[in-house]
């Protein structure tokens, strides 16, 4: 009997071991592409997870390389900000130091690839959403229209940034260089391209071609997003799409459209009062914030985050390389301006908790959260007032310009009495948008250089450099991996060093 029991046990063991098949294996670590497509088939609302994927991609850490200065979209605009005049580094050297001295834009460095990949991934992910829809027919239903509209909006957004990083937009006279080599275009099935056309688009199209793509995408987005209600400020809705349009049209000097969309975009948002202004720019719930990302314990990046680099009150990288305001810019902020309080003065702040936040001219704008859960802010209504003011000033409509600027400054420096000249608005942009990733693009579109080596400078000794307008280092090179693997771009197409 005992023998029989052994035989049964062993035979059972062997039988179980043979019971597996190829179909029952795989991984549950990830959702497979086939399953995802089937889930969209069964429930079209599941397409939202692809759309939401745009926004989580924009905050993912260390996707291109393992550095903590790779944390998505805001890392790209932050390092661009470091290249300008307005952020003065102090104390040590760390992430961003090579950007500060314009020595990180060459093809072999990770920065080119980080920026390139950030935006091209958005474009390809947008295409995979667009490819779910029939060509030539607009979908019915506000949700479906909203998803498709967001895909077009994010694509326009991405091409705009690629254009801005990888080419000098204006010539010495300030005119748009529409014939200059720009970036490849990756078509979706709804773009109705032949294979040959699609291949041709892989080359460095002209700025004009890329502009046409952006404007077509913006038109689609504005049409489709009309009537869509977003679930959270993570998403792009009609107001944000208009904000993107305003940002883009300002860059390409289409003042009428910039003003129109900026004016429409900021309706419904309320500018920060003093309390909110000093609350640390870390909550997208603030009614001035139009678009951003609400971080939770599931998405935050700790040391690889905006706050780690930009918040001097924090134990992150700002505690090694302090982020200060340029002394000259600080001196241009009137004492009555609430925004002066977002920075230490020349004496520093003896009361401050950290060495960085005690430092002269240190920024106190970006606030501290002990759990690193500061939100990412991409767009604020203040920017829209400034776009409108500048565009109107450029159009010589000084009354409209001044009104727009006054609407903003009523919350910032109520005693301001001036007129909104272009210069004045550009200065207000530097003050209002300090550290939020705008200064590099403003310098480029206005054909301006920088000089950090002035009397009384507070820039780090190793960063007291001057970079004239149109210097080659203002433009990033196409990443080497693109040159190596894209047959339509050759070494001759590379931006000059």
């Amino acid at each position: 009997m005992k023998k029989f029991a052994y035989i049964v046990m062993i035979a059972a063991g062997l039988a179980v071991s043979c019971n597996k098949t190829f179909d029952s294996v795989g991984t549950t670590s990830y959702l497979s592409g086939d399953d995802a497509i089937e889930m969209v088939d069964q429930n079209p609302d599941f397409l939202y997870s692809y759309v939401s994927g745009f926004y989580s991609w924009m905050v993912l850490q260390c996707q291109v390389y393992s550095g903590h200065d790779d944390y998505g979209f805001l890392s790209c605009t932050m390092i661009a900000d470091f290249m300008g005049q307005d952020i003065a580094m102090a104390n040590g050297q760390h992430y961003g130091m090579y950007d500060y001295i314009h020595d990180y834009c060459q093809e072999e460095y990770v920065r080119c690839r980080q920026i390139w990949t950030q935006f091209y991934t958005l474009i390809n992910n947008a295409n995979s959403v667009i490819n779910f829809f029939e060509p030539d027919v607009d979908p019915e239903g506000t949700k479906a229209r909203g998803y498709l509209g967001q895909a077009y909006a994010i694509r326009a957004f991405a091409y705009y940034y690629l254009m801005a990083y990888f080419q000098d937009p204006v010539d010495a006279d300030g005119n748009l260089r529409t014939d200059a080599k720009c970036v490849p275009i990756i078509p979706s099935t709804r773009d109705n391209c032949t294979t040959e056309e699609a291949e041709q688009l892989q080359s460095r199209n002209t700025i004009a071609t890329v502009m046409a793509r952006i404007e077509a995408d913006l038109d689609e987005a504005l049409k489709l997003l009309d009537g869509y209600t977003r679930s959270a400020k993570n998403e792009i809705d009609l107001s944000v799409a208009k904000g993107i349009a305003a940002r883009y049209y300002l860059y390409v000097q289409n003042w009428e459209k910039a003003s129109k969309y900026a004016g429409e975009a900021c309706t419904g948002y309320s500018l920060m009062d003093e309390t909110r202004l000093k609350a640390g720019f870390k909550e997208i719930e603030d009614e001035e914030v139009m678009w951003g990302f609400n971080h939770t314990a599931d998405t935050y990046g700790m040391y690889a985050s905006f706050a780690s680099h930009m918040c001097n009150d924090h134990a992150g990288y700002a505690s090694i390389m302090y982020k200060c305001i340029d002394a000259k810019l600080y001196s241009q902020i009137p004492d009555t301006d609430l925004r002066k309080g977002l920075f230490n003065g020349p004496e520093g702040d003896a009361e401050a908790a950290t060495a960085a936040s005690a430092y002269p001219y240190a920024s106190r704008k970006f606030g501290y959260d002990e759990n690193w859960l500061q939100d990412f802010i991409y767009m604020r209504a203040a920017e829209m007032y400034l776009i409108k003011a500048e565009a109107e000033a450029r159009l010589n409509n000084s009354t409209e310009a001044t009104n727009a600027l006054k609407s903003l400054l009523a919350y910032r420096n109520p005693s301001w009495k001036g007129s909104a000249t272009v210069e004045e608005v550009l200065l207000q942009r530097r003050i209002e948008l300090w550290g939020e990733g705008f200064s590099y693009f403003d310098l480029k579109r206005n054909g301006l250089g920088i000089d950090r080596n002035y009397e009384g400078t507070n820039h780090a000794t190793w960063g007291r450099l001057a970079f004239p307008a149109h210097d080659n280092t203002w433009t990033f090179q196409i990443p080497r991996s693109e040159l190596q693997n894209n047959l339509m771009i050759n070494d001759e197409d590379q931006n000059e060093l």
């Binding site: 071991s17 549950t28 970036v183």
Partner: protein, 653 residues
Amino acid sequence: KVDQTIGKRIKAGLNVAYSNTNMKQFNSSESSNYSNIFNYAQNMPPIFPIYKYDLETGERLYDKDGSTLYDWGETRPAATNTNAYGQLMTSKYNTIRDNISTRGYVDINILKDLKISINAAYDVFNTKTERYMTPVGGDAKEVGGRGTQIVSRYTAINANQLISYTPTFGEHSLNILVGHETKSDNSYSMNGSMTKFVNQSVSDFNNALVYDGLYSSSSSYFLEGVFARAEYDYASRYFLSASYRMDGSSRFAPKNRWGSFWAVGGSWNIKQENFLRDSDAVNLLKIKASYGTQGNDNIGYTVVYQDLYDIIRVDGEASLTKVFRAAPDVTWEKSNNFNVGFESRFWNRLTVNADFFIKKTKDMIYLRPLAPSQGDPSEQLVNDMDMQNTGVEFEISADVVKTKNIVWNISLNGTHYKNAITKLPADKPQDGYQTGNYWREVGGPVYQFNLREYAGVDPETGLPQYNKYDDEGNVTLVNKVSEATLRKTGKSPVPDLYGGFSTSLNLYGFDLSASFAYQIGGYVIDSGYMSLMGGGDISDNWHKDIFNRWTPENTSTDVPRVELGNSEIAQTSTRFLTKASYLSLRNVTIGYSLPSKLLERAKINTVRFYLTGDNLWYLSARRGLDVRQSFDGTIGYNYSAIRTVSFGVNLVF
């Protein structure tokens, strides 16, 4: 353990074993950040203290219970709020593993020469890992401590069913085997993290306040194979064998799942021939040759044929990020091996074995980079590119002295081979192309370095110089590495010769042995040295060679000047291409065995005392350059082999 015979023809057995392992590990990463203790040790300037000191008296400080206080560098300009050593000593990283291992078999002898065997092996590993980073200082200080608990279970089933037929006809014997085999691996893991621990010394989650992530996943692998093998033996002199197998792997798409592989071989045991059988001088002489194909599906991915999306949790909704690009066309990587060699032993003292081999790897699986404008992930697995290793292996062992009380043996083994690409990926320029720091071309090694040429220091300025070539091949000197020209170096990490040698001596009960590993030739990029030879910054460490840097007084040197923040001072180029030759003393053992006469009365067979040391000494081109873990000629901040010295007693009853 149970073995049971049932009747005359059936035998069955079952063996169950259990083991338990407790491990305390480094709470440290392998990356290039400040929590990696190896990185920290190399790159942290030694002026920064590990411990807290009284700034007035210079005395070490302790807390009230007398335990160590670490200097976490709250105001240190470099690596603020870190102390890799303090983190190591105050954090936990413990793993407990239970392993149950079961083996079962049934053998059925149907006829004298015909046997059916069924074998199964089932292993279960249950593992619990706990990591806890202290709130006292370091990375987790801000969040009040961070803990991770990981529970995982891994099972592996291997089963085969074999029919063997082993007839003998006079001096001819045959061994024919057909079989079926399945492998099935399943793994599951759940891990959770929390922060803000109430009692700083308790790492369980009931003691923590803030949720920081909770994940679980499982994955499985299945392999099925059928095979047949025939072996023929004539008078123990001539041997022939042939085999064939087909394997299906769950990693590949259904249409590419199955691969078939075969082998043939033969050998001649000359010692068994009449003219050598009685020779005392020749104890063994055998020549052999074989040719066969093998498959490899061990590529580090569970499934390769579907896109994979990571599900990120955003406001209670799924958010998809593509993390893997489907590669439905990928199938088995194959290698064709040709071997010819001999085995020999003479005068019972000298053993000489040697093999010549050609190993051709076909349809190599690798991640092909795509243009990053295709979006992330900008790489895709493909089977493309063939390469070949051609070389020899030898082993010589001699008992130099062999008497009753003294035996002294010396052994040497080595391998020399040449690595060459035989087919380039179809989509790449067929006259060669650059990838990373390498140049790929037919006939060249897979990892041939392709670098800018360092041309010394400009004696005027102290800046590094590199060669820039124009189309005619004329050279000009440039100071920025990015302006210099990438050139094939003809150098690769493949050594000219590598292997080991050892010696052992037995002398009146004492035994002494030493074994060495060596490598001659091959190159690495010494990135560790590069990071220690930069322009300098308050957070940088320097190699002592920096004393030889260019200064207005010291103009004839090959070390450029130092310059705060100038990244051009030390860049990847031929300057840091370094010979990868090394010699390491892997083990020394000294032992003494008590004379057996003494032990007889105590009914003990042997008593041996020994002292043994591992990884005692290592020599390479630069002190601190450990090339042993490098296959592609790069080095990182890896764990070096750990030196251990131990004393022991062997008792055999």
